[in-house]
Amino acid sequence: MEETATIKKNWTAGLRFWSDREELLGPLFLFPAILYIVALVGIPFMIALAYSFSDVTVGNTSLDFAGLQNFQAILKTPQFITSLGNTIVFTIVSQIIIIVLANILALILSEDFRGKWFARFLIMLPWATPIALGTIGWLWLLDSKFSPIDWTLRYLHLLGEPGALLGAQKNLFYLGRVELAKASIMAIYVWRMLPLAAVILMAGLTSIPQDILDQADVDGASFWRTLFQIKLPLILPIMSIALLFSLIFTIGDMAVVYVLTRGGPVYYTQILPTWAYYKGIESGALAEGAATALFLFPVLLAVAIMVLRFSRRTEVT
C-alpha cells in the first residue's frame, strides 16, 4: 500500500518535473507539426524535383537521371508555351483588376449604410463557396444557348438581330471563342478573390488612426487628397498582403479552368496546373507533369521573398 503510494508520488513528481521543463516542452509541442510538414510537404517537393530531372512514368517508375531533358521537351510543345503564357497573363491581369476594385470596395464597405450585414454576406459569398461549385454557377450563366446574359442583351436589342451592336447571331458563345473564354476565366478569378482582398484592405483602413484623418479634415484636405496622400500610402503594406494571398490562391487553383473550359477551345485556355494534371495524372507522364508544375516555383519564390521582407519590416516597427 505504502509502496504504491510512493510510486504514484514518484510518478507525479516525475511528470511534474518534465511538464515544467520549457526547453523540453517547446520542441516536444512543435515536433508533430514539423514532422507532418516535412513528411508531406518537404519530401513530396523533393520528389517533384527528382521526377522532373528523371524519365519516370506511371508504367516505369525507376528514376533514371535525365538532366534537363524534360524541360527541353516540354518547352518545345505549343500546349506548354500556351499554358505558361496563360498562367502569366491570367494572373497579372486579374491581380491588377482585383487590387483596383478591392480598394474601391474596401472604401465603400468602411462607410455606414443600411443592410450592411447583408451586403457583406453577398459580397463574401464567392470566396466562401467552394470554387468548383461557384464555377459551375458561372458555367451555366455563360451557357452557349441559355445564358441569361445573352437573353438580356437580346432584350435590349444589342444582340441577335441584323445591325445589332454585338452581332446578328443569337448568342455570344462565351466559352467557345478564345478571347471571350480567357476573359471569362479572368472574370471568375476577380469574382472569387475580390472579397478577400477587400476585407483585408478594410482591416487596413480601420487601423488608420482617427486623429490623422481629423487633422486632414481640419486642414481642409479634399476627399481625393486624403485618399491618395494619406489612406493609400498608409495601407500600402496591407495591400501587399492582400495581393500576396490573392496571388497564391489564383496560382494554386485549377478548378476554374478545369470546370469552365477544360482548357478549351482546343488547348488555348490551358494553364500550368491543368496542363500538368493532363500530362502527369491523366496521361501518366509523371516526369513531364512534375516539370510543368515546377514552373510555378520561381513565381512562388519571389512571393515568399516578398513576405519575408514584409514580416521583417513589421518586426522593426
Binding site: 510537404v41 464567392p126 508544375a293
Partner: protein, 281 residues
C-alpha cells in the same frame, strides 16, 4: 446645395454597393432561380430566364437527393472534414503554443517558416503526392485526403492560434504557476479556456478549407463513391454531355449558402490571421 451634395453622395454609395452585390451574387441568384424551374420553362431560349414562366417545381431537388450520389459526396466531405479538424487541432494547438511561449528567439522564425508552407499551393505538389498516396495503398480512398489535407490546414491554423495565444497576458499563467500548477497544467487550465473562440474559428476554417479543396481530391480519387462535394458535383452530375442543370445548381446552392453564413460570422478573426498581426484589431 449642401443637402443636394450629401444626397448625391449617399445615392452614389448605395448604387455602388448594389453593383458590387450584384456582381458577387449573380451566379447564386441564377442558381436559386434555376433549381426550381421545370425543363420546359428552362430550355426555351425565348422565355424570360429571370421569372417563372411555368410553376416552380421540387422535382430536380428530389432527383438530386434521391437518385444521385450527392448525399454520398456530402457524407464523404463531412467525414473528411471532421477528421481533418481533429488532426489539425491536435497538432496545431501545441505547435502554436510552443511558438508563442516556449521556444525563444527562433520561435518567430519558425513561425514564419510554417506560414510559408501555407503558401506552397497544391498545384505544385499534387503529382508527387499522388505517387505517395498510391504507394501507401490509399489511392481511391477517403483516407488519402484525411492524410494530406492537414498539410493545408495546419500551417494556417498554427499561425492563427499563435497570434491568439500571444494576445493572452503572461501574468495569468504565472499566477496559475504560483498557485502550484505546472507549466503544462497552466496551459490546460488557463490558456485553453481563454482560447475557445480562437479554436472555434480554427474549426470553422479548417472544415471549410477541406470543403473547398479540389486539386488533391481530383488527383487522388477516381471512383464515384469516394468523391467529395467539390469534385463530385462538377464531374459526376454531368452524364456524358447531358447537364442536369437544375440539380447541379441545387447542389451548388445547398453547399454555398450555409458555408457563406459561417464565413461571415468568423470573418473578422480570419482577416486578423491573414494580416499576420500587422493590423491591431
Amino acid at each position: 446645395m449642401k443637402n443636394l451634395k450629401r444626397w448625391l453622395k449617399r445615392s452614389l454609395l448605395y448604387a455602388s454597393v448594389a453593383v458590387f452585390c450584384f456582381f458577387s451574387a449573380s451566379p447564386f441568384i441564377w442558381m436559386l432561380i434555376t433549381m426550381f424551374k421545370q425543363d420546359k420553362d428552362l430550355y426555351r431560349s425565348a422565355n424570360n430566364p429571370f421569372i417563372f414562366n411555368e410553376p416552380p417545381t421540387l422535382e430536380h431537388l428530389n432527383l438530386l437527393i434521391n437518385r444521385t450520389n450527392f448525399p454520398v459526396f456530402l457524407r464523404n466531405s463531412i467525414f473528411i472534414g471532421v477528421l481533418v479538424v481533429m488532426i489539425t487541432l491536435v497538432i496545431s494547438i501545441p505547435a502554436a503554443y510552443s511558438l508563442a511561449r516556449l521556444v525563444g528567439s527562433w520561435g518567430e522564425r519558425a513561425g514564419i517558416g510554417i506560414f510559408l508552407v501555407y503558401l506552397v499551393p497544391p498545384t505544385l505538389l499534387f503529382i508527387p503526392l499522388t505517387r505517395v498516396v498510391v504507394s501507401l495503398g490509399l489511392h481511391n480512398s477517403l483516407w488519402s485526403m484525411v492524410l494530406v489535407y492537414p498539410t493545408i490546414t495546419i500551417p494556417f491554423s498554427t499561425w492563427l492560434l499563435m497570434g491568439f495565444f500571444k494576445s493572452i497576458p503572461r501574468d495569468l499563467e504565472e499566477a496559475a504557476r504560483v498557485d502550484g500548477y505546472s507549466r503544462l497544467m497552466s496551459f490546460f487550465k488557463v490558456i485553453m479556456p481563454l482560447s475557445v473562440s480562437g479554436i472555434v474559428a480554427v474549426i470553422a476554417f479548417t472544415f471549410t478549407l477541406t470543403l473547398h479543396e479540389f486539386v488533391y481530391a481530383l488527383a487522388f480519387v477516381t471512383s464515384s463513391a469516394q468523391r467529395t462535394i467539390s469534385v463530385g458535383v462538377p464531374t459526376e452530375l454531368v452524364r456524358g454531355d447531358v447537364f442536369y442543370w437544375q440539380s447541379l445548381m441545387a447542389a451548388a446552392a445547398i453547399v454555398a449558402i450555409p458555408v457563406g453564413l459561417v464565413y461571415n460570422v468568423f470573418l473578422d478573426r480570419l482577416v486578423a490571421g491573414f494580416t499576420m498581426g500587422a493590423v491591431k484589431g
